[in-house]
Amino acid sequence: MRNKRMFMLMIGFIVCIAVIGFSLSDRKELSWPEKFLKDSAAYVQQWFYKPAGYIAGFFEDISNLRTIYEENEQLRLTAAAYSREKINYNFVEKENKRLQEELDFTVAQKAMYNYNYLIAQVVSVSNEANNRTLTINLGSKNGIKPNMAVTTIDGLIGLVSSVTPFTAAVTPITELDEASPTFNLIAVTIMGREDESFGILSSYNKETSRLLMTKIAEKDKMAIQDTVITSGLGGVYPRGLVVGTLESKQLGDFGLTYTASVELAASFDHLTEVFVVQVPELEDAE
């Protein structure tokens, strides 16, 4: 009896290791049982997540009533600034288009920055401390592909890690890690100095809850409190998504480059709507 139990335990352990090994391998796509289970779970969960959000949102609104006056004033200021800048933007965009025509830009080059923002609802949040995967209700049927960036109004929150026909799993940016085999690095720059600054988001420190930005050049003039945005270099992730604010800058490990810590702009609690950024397909010519 005891031996049998021991034997079963060993078999269970081996199966577990085998399954972990299978999931660690570089899979392009999920297997169909996974897709089926994920889709059906998301189908049920969406009935619960949204109503719960409405109820919670109602109570939050009540507590926010006091601050609404100040917020309104701020919004009015931003709206005024926006309408001024919109006029400016229209001129610049027209000029830009004219120049592109004159320089014979190809169709692909012109469409390179025409990002498509797909709005998605969060369906559920994982209940594991080290794996805070979000599920959203758009999938490969809606044109979602792995590695697309996901943002909220505040800023970048993560990347799509796997898709099923009707849902997609979003790995939050807090699980960014250089050593992890599943995560790519994101090139960033500073808002207002897009062509001068460069850095790479390499990992997230959970203990201080700051992102680590590395490979900053020595002469880079980025300053504390600057807004960090994605630069779009590398062509995988879109450009111009807010990541956070620069908090401190220090000399890197070898003294050749600088590293900086970045405070995230987006919060991961009580998420409802997120935007998936669809980058136009580049031709595979290169």
Partner: protein, 174 residues
């Protein structure tokens, strides 16, 4: 009948864990207080029902959780939930545990569960924070949530599982 009810309850808890709890937990604590209600139910089933039921429930709901929230690894939750449910059953299924006993067993089981998951993740280098920090950051805060949940649902769940035991005692030797 009773078995259907147990599975329905577990599925409901699984959905609540992922879809309702993120709203109930106050903003700013989302990554610190993490519900493991399904796991608590697996331990309950080990305490008040048969160990094989706990094993099956643990493996199947652990696997469900692994697949639905697949991020890095597949299969740890299934393995650990099944194993811990089974061993709770082996140690304690013959005794009629009191409420204090049950709550303390659940507390220890939750600590162990979170710690084992932390160590598995750190073996595969998915996390690299220290254990002491993980303990303070999320293992202990979520322990309180689990204990509160276990206390709140103790009476109905015990009835449910003990009723299940009485209906089919002959299946004990499968």
């Amino acid at each position: 009948m009773s078995m259907n009810r147990i599975i329905l309850l577990m599925v409901l808890l699984f959905v609540i864990e992922g879809a309702v709890m993120p709203w109930i937990i106050p903003a700013g604590f989302g990554h610190r207080i993490i519900p493991h209600f399904v796991f608590v139910m697996v331990i309950f089933s080990g305490l008040y029902s048969r160990r094989h039921l706990a094993l099956i429930l643990g493996v199947s709901f652990g696997m469900l959780q692994d697949i639905v929230y697949f991020g890095h690894l597949l299969g740890i939750n299934a393995f650990i939930m099944g194993l811990m449910g089974y061993f709770t059953g082996v140690l304690l299924e013959r005794r009629r545990s009191t409420i204090m006993m049950a709550i303390s067993v659940i507390g220890f089981a939750c600590l162990l569960y979170d710690s084992v998951i932390y160590f598995v993740y750190s073996v595969f280098r998915i996390t690299n924070e220290s254990y002491a920090w993980a303990l303070i950051d999320h293992i202990l805060p979520s322990l309180f949530l689990q204990l509160a949940f276990a206390l709140a649902c103790y009476v109905p769940v015990r009835k449910l599982f003990e009723g299940q035991n009485g209906v089919k005692p002959e299946n004990d030797d499968e």
